[in-house]
């Protein structure tokens, strides 16, 4: 009886096997991944409605906060391409609410996962530091998906392929500007990882950063200017 092409092919390629020590090397890599990676999961509500997975809290950008009676409530943040002063309301359950200049409500909350899986509630300072250094996707009222980074706004609706989008912004003040958006869904949910270099097997789309206000430039504007990077200081208030 004749052996089919499929059977012949399988018989031949079934001779290929991973090295004997592959599993142990994989286990080591997985362990290293667990230990090294500080993963922060944010759960958001309202217009943000995004589950953001971020690899590191330390993006190297200054972050100031107003300490008003021990409760930090006022922040200057990049929101929808402009710098806005917002007041954050502590909902008392680990979640926070704030509003943009147009009265749209945003919510956030989350935990920081440590190396051993321990959870620490995320503070607004941590959240806004992350947010100010992050590229963010939001769906506008016309159903278009917009990418925001500082003052940059780009319609990326047509660039999303199979729920994935890889973008890079050339920002001299922040190396962590390789944004990998995955699992982008129609309702605005997505996962985002940020890195200082591209994932080597992906092509990143370059966002025009000619008009970018960088973190450093924004800080140099000083206390009296309307644009101040990250979170405002006591003096600012």
């Amino acid at each position: 009886m004749k052996t089919s092409n499929e059977e012949r092919y399988k018989k031949s390629f079934d001779n290929l096997h991973l090295s004997g020590d592959f599993s142990s090397r994989l286990s080591e890599s997985l362990e290293k991944e667990r230990e090294d990676k500080k993963v922060v999961k944010l759960f958001s509500a309202g217009k943000i409605a995004a589950a953001i997975v971020i690899c590191s809290l330390t993006c190297g950008t200054a972050c100031y906060a107003a300490d008003v009676g021990g409760i930090r409530t006022n922040f200057n943040i990049w929101l929808n391409g402009s710098n806005q002063e917002i007041e954050v309301q502590d909902n008392g359950d680990g979640s926070y609410t704030y509003y943009d200049d147009n009265g749209h409500e945003y919510g956030f909350g989350g935990v920081s996962l440590g190396p051993n899986g321990e959870e620490t509630p995320m503070t607004p300072e941590e959240y806004f530091e992350l947010l100010n250094n992050e590229g963010v996707l939001r769906i506008n009222d016309e159903g278009r998906t917009l990418f925001y980074y500082h003052n940059l706004v780009e319609d990326v609706t047509d660039l999303i392929e199979d729920g994935e989008l890889y973008l890079h912004v050339e920002d001299p003040s922040n190396p962590y500007t390789y944004f990998a958006f995955t699992e982008i869904s129609g309702n605005g949910n997505y996962a985002c990882s940020t890195d200082d270099s591209k994932e080597w097997f992906k092509d990143y789309i370059e966002i025009d950063a000619t008009d970018l206000i960088t973190g450093d430039q924004a800080l140099e504007l000083g206390e009296d200017e309307t644009v101040s990077y990250a979170v405002t200081t006591d003096e600012d208030n």
Partner: protein, 160 residues
Amino acid sequence: MAIDIIEICTKYGDRLYAAAFNITRQRQDAEDAVQEALLRLYKSDKEFESEEHVKAWLIRVTINIAKSTCTSFWHRNRVPYEDYMEEIPFEDDSDRDLMEAVLSLPDKYRIIVHLHYYEGYKTREIADTLKLSENTVKTRLLQSRKLLKTKLEGWQDEDI
């Protein structure tokens, strides 16, 4: 569904490796591609509907990683696949001949052949996995078969 990466590796590691090796024709590059794919699965928050879904995702990701590896400097400077094949304990010479014939096919043909004959994918599924049109897949599969027929004794004629 909960995913145990080591269990997935035990179950599908070799077939992922076969797909990666088909592309890279380098042992180390292929293993690196499999490891990277499994680590990506570990890091992913993706919700999988079934184990079959996990497998299909892993095959696609492994292929993409392996393809990217082929453009790197390191890949171009690795040892030839013929040397590695000397180490594989083929049961029959015909098995070795077949693998050599497949690996000698042009890059763009090999993975299509592999997905078709090894994974049992239909042309539509191959097109989806590789982001190609179905017609392109059919044409390349046809060309591959013609080439294999010239290289291999007893390779049967088939309809697409």
